[in-house]
Symmetry: C2
Subunit: 238 residues, 2 copies
C-alpha cells in the first residue's frame, strides 16, 4: 500500500487518533460493565454511548453548545442512556466513576510496543477529540509513551475541523506534509489529507466488537495501510 | 522546610517550571556560543537574551502585541541583540538555528533521574511559558519523561497569570491544592500560591552562571524547599 512517492524520512511527527486506533474503547467498556453492572448488555451499552459522540460534538461545532470537553459530552450522553439500561439508581459518585471509564481504556495489544518503536524515529503525539486530562490519565495507566499530548482542547475545535490537523503542523513549526495522521477512521484521515497531511490507516476490525466487524479493506488516498502499530513501525523502518 | 500541614498524598499533579528549574539555559547557551561563535562573550549574550524575556511577554500581556509564541519572542529579542554582539552577519538559516537553541537546552544533572522518580507517584507536567513544540523537542532531546506538556500556549496567557496555574487544575479536574508548582523562581511560586496551588522551591544557584550566583535561601510560604529534583523526590517519598 506504500505509494511510490512516500518517503518515511519526509515526516517528522506522527499524530495519532486514540479512541479505536490506539485503545479499545468497546472491549474496555464491555469489561468495565461486566465487572460493575453485569446485568447490563455491555456490548449494546458501549455502542450506544459511542453513538452519541458525533451528534454531541456536532452540537458544539454548530454553536448550539459552547466549547465543551469530551468528559462533559460523555457525561451528557451517559445521563441520557441511564433509563434504557436500567441504571437510573446510580448515585453521583458512581456516575462520575463510570464516566471516567474513558480515562481507563485499555490499549490494543500492539500499541505500547508499536509506539515505543515509532518514538525512536518520530515525535509521537496524540491528536484526539478527548480532553488533555483524559488522554494523560489514559496514557499513564496504559503506558502509552507520548512525546506530547495534543487534543481538540488545545485548538478549541474537534476533528475533522482543519484547525486540528493544521494545528499540529503549526505547533511543531512544520509543513503539513511533514506530519502524518495515524487513524482507524477514514473520515478522520480524509480530513487530514485535505489539509495536506500524510495519512496511515490502521485496521481495527474489532473496534465495534465481534458482533459488528468493520470493513478494513484498503481505500485509495492513504499513504500507508497497516494491520496495527507494529506493522506501521515495520513500514516506516522503525 | 516541610510545613507540618503538608501531606505528599494530597497532591496528584506536579507542574514544573522549565527554564532554570529543569534545564540550564545559561550554561547551554554559553556552550552553544563557544561552539558556534567563540568570539562572542557567551555569558553576557545568554544573560542579555534572557533579560529581554519578561519585557517581551509584558508587551503581549499588555495587549501591545497579539498572542505570540516564545519562539517568536526569542527571535525578536535575538534580532535586537545582534549588533551589540557582532552577529549582524548571520544569515536567516543561521539565525533560525541559533534561535532554536532554546529547544536544545541541557537538563540539570539531577533532572531526568528526579523526574523519573516523581513520575512513579505523580502525574508530571510542564507548566512553562515556552511553546508546546519547544517543550516537546527539548524533552525528546534531553530525555525528560513528561506525562503531559502544558504551556502558556494552551492557556493563551503567560505565567504568572492565574489562568495558567488554575488552568492546570482545570485540565486535570482537580482542586488547586491538589496541584503543586515546582520552580526555582519566587515570583512564579507566589503566583501559584495565590491561586491555591502547593509550591516547591528548587535551588538553582548557578541559573545565571557562576558570575552571578543566586540567593537560594528559603523563603516563607513554600510548602517544600529542595536542593534539586532528587531532593524533592526524597521529600515526597518517591
Amino acid at each position: 500500500m506504500h505509494t511510490p512517492q512516500f518517503a518515511p524520512d519526509s515526516c517528522q511527527v506522527l499524530a495519532f487518533d486514540i479512541f479505536g486506533t490506539v485503545v479499545d474503547w468497546h472491549g474496555s467498556i464491555v469489561r468495565e460493565m461486566q465487572a460493575l453492572y453485569p446485568q447490563v448488555d455491555g456490548d449494546a451499552f458501549a455502542l450506544a454511548w459511542r453513538a452519541g459522540y458525533k451528534p454531541a460534538m456536532q452540537r458544539v461545532m454548530s454553536g448550539e453548545l459552547g466549547w465543551t470537553l469530551i468528559d462533559d459530552l460523555n457525561r451528557m450522553i451517559l445521563d441520557n442512556l441511564l433509563p434504557d439500561f436500567g441504571l437510573t439508581h446510580l448515585n453521583e459518585a458512581e456516575l462520575q466513576h463510570l464516566n471516567r471509564v474513558w480515562h481507563r481504556l485499555d490499549a490494543w495489544p500492539d500499541s505500547v510496543a508499536g509506539l515505543t518503536r515509532l518514538k525512536r524515529k518520530y515525535t509521537i503525539t496524540t491528536l484526539s477529540n478527548g480532553n488533555i486530562g483524559l488522554l494523560t490519565n489514559m496514557a499513564k495507566r496504559a503506558g502509552l509513551p507520548w512525546d506530547c499530548v495534543l487534543s481538540a482542547e488545545v485548538f478549541h475545535a474537534y476533528k475533522p475541523d482543519p484547525a486540528t490537523y493544521l494545528g499540529v503542523a503549526k505547533v511543531f513549526n512544520l509543513a503539513p506534509e511533514q506530519v502524518m495522521l495515524v487513524a482507524a477512521h477514514h473520515e478522520d484521515l480524509a480530513g487530514a489529507r485535505a489539509c495536506g497531511l500524510r495519512t496511515a490507516y490502521i485496521e481495527r476490525p474489532l473496534e465495534f466488537g465481534a458482533n459488528q466487524p468493520k470493513d478494513v479493506s484498503p481505500q485509495a488516498g492513504n499513504d500507508l495501510h497497516a494491520t496495527n502499530l507494529n506493522g506501521l513501525a515495520d513500514q516506516l523502518g522503525c
